[in-house]
């Protein structure tokens, strides 16, 4: 059973507009709970990426209120944002790997930014590259990696620091179906074994069926609908028990 006090993210009547354009997101009110697996779906232009930007703190809302890890983002000074960002793992739609760094150094970035000792960085990154099947490509720079390899580096970077919430924007968009399924299994493993809350934005409806315990949030023209009860409390997954903080890590 989920605990309301343990909510990861809470949106309250949030709206987002760019400049003076009309709102791309309107009246979003929902809560994300620890250890849950969410799919965010919607047609192209529905506002998925904008919503994810709010979640991974690349954007502040135009109105409404957002709480994350129990802290009010609206009044939080920007000096404290790094602390929150270090609890997140993000797989960007276009990967956003640092072009001048090797695959190893890209994956190591979150740990080094958090001040981890180099010996631990070496072991953790080596293990993680092994895990995503790129141990032999650690010295390669992103430009020399294939799309699928870049995606796996991006995923390794996103999960290396064991984030409390993993946010992935179309993570299977550039890979073949086999690789897509494999990546999804990696997210599931993280969700099941580490207890990370996972939010995956996708327009691939076939993907939704691959994770049985997942909850679905659907965006349509910037407004959210609730086909699976994901937005209710307690959230009602499609099958199986509700995910929660008590899930074994």
């Amino acid at each position: 059973m989920n605990d309301r006090s343990a909510e990861i993210v809470k949106f309250d009547n949030v709206g987002l507009r760019y400049g003076t354009d009309p709102e791309v997101l309107s009246n979003l009110s929902f809560t994300l709970y620890p250890g849950s697996f969410y799919f965010l779906t919607g047609a192209s232009g529905a506002g998925k990426t904008s919503l994810l930007k709010l979640l991974y703190l690349a954007q502040r809302p135009s109105r409404g209120a957002i709480r994350m890890f129990g802290q009010d983002l609206m009044t939080m000074p920007r000096e404290r944002l790094p602390d929150l960002r270090q609890r997140l793992g993000v797989v960007f739609q276009n990967f956003r790997l640092v072009p001048h760094l090797t695959a190893f150094d890209n994956v190591a970035l979150p740990l080094r930014l958090a001040g981890a000792p180099e010996a631990r960085v070496l072991k953790a990154v080596s293990d993680m590259l092994e895990w995503v099947g790129l141990a032999h490509r650690g010295h390669a720079i992103p430009a020399t990696l294939s799309g699928g390899e870049q995606q796996r580096v991006a995923i390794a970077r996103a999960v290396i620091a064991r984030p409390r919430m993993l946010i992935a924007d179309e993570p299977t968009g550039n890979v073949d179906p086999d690789m897509a399924l494999k990546l999804l299994r990696l997210f599931e493993a993280l969700n099941n074994r580490v207890g990370t809350t996972v939010v995956v934005a996708t327009h691939d409806v076939h993907l939704l069926k691959k994770v049985p315990d997942s909850l679905i949030m659907r965006l349509n023209k910037g407004e959210l609908s609730d086909p699976t009860g994901a937005l209710r409390y307690p959230p009602r997954p499609a099958a199986g028990p509700a995910a929660g903080p008590e899930r074994e890590l």
């Binding site: 991974y56 703190l57 690349a58 954007q59 502040r60 920007r78 000096e79 404290r80 944002l81 790094p82 602390d83 960002r85 270090q86 997140l88 993000v90 956003r96 790997l97 640092v98 072009p99 001048h100 760094l101 150094d105 190591a108 970035l109 979150p110 740990l111 080094r112 930014l113 958090a114 001040g115 981890a116 000792p117 180099e118 631990r120 960085v121 072991k123 953790a124 293990d127 993680m128 092994e130 895990w131 099947g133 970077r157 290396i160 620091a161 064991r162 086999d178 399924l181 494999k182 299994r185 990696l186 599931e188 493993a189 993280l190 074994r193 580490v194």
Partner: protein, 315 residues
Amino acid sequence: MSVPPLPEAPEEAPATTATTLTAKPPRAARLLPQPRMGGLIPWVIAILIALVVIAAAGGLALRNLAETARADLASAVTVQVIEPNPDLRDQRGQAAVAVLQGMDLVRSVRLVPQSELAALLEPWLGTAATSGDVPIPALIDVELVRRASPAEIAAIETALTAAVPDARVDAQGDWLRPVYRALAALQWLALGLIALIALATAAAVWLASRNSLAQHRETVEIIHLLGGTDRQITRTFLGTVLREAAFGAILGTAFGLGAVWLLGQQFAALDAGMTRGGGLAFRDWLVIAAVPLGGVLLALATARMTIALALRNML
């Protein structure tokens, strides 16, 4: 499809809370590719530092020259005895010397020989200087025991004219006053130049820092989104600024010192009395040595401020 087991979680890294934000970020250089400020910046800084070294050395030399000249001339007066009759002029000259030698304020008195005066004036008067056609006053160089006030100069003149009515006393410092004023103006000009060059240096570093940040904006955004702090990003940029500014400062100082040495040689070759006081003392060299250090600090401060302001506009 089998899923490989998750590797062991890395040991809990310290959270970047408000308290740890002030801690020294580790291996900042590895967090970002070494950003280049701009290829021309070290050379621009080198040129500007060289100009400051030359301006500073020039200003200090002028100050020393003015001080030496003032010290030499402020405690000296010249007495002229204007008398066309040569015999009478010699006689009155001797009388004036006798009066001056009796004064407590006077250290030494020298009646300048007529032949020496004629030699001094010959370049302007030609043979007239020695022919006797042009009357030349008797000149007496008087060295005082200390700097005399205008009232004391007036007292000397009063005592002197009582015995030699045609005697006239000139404080040497008086007729050099316009020269002092010109030297002071040149010193201010040197200071103004240094201030303008410092401004130009700051502007160049400001532009280069903004360009460098713009060039690496995508990387900086990624670092931010992965939890990097402004301090970590700023440190990486400042490392580059320090390296490039230090290179430019060393190069510029070497060039500036070379130019100062050459100018010094040129002035020394003049062998003119006044320029002898224009050398640089040890303390002056210390000031000049501080120029590159000041340049590097200015570049660092400017870059830090520029980057901090730019990062503040990012989320």
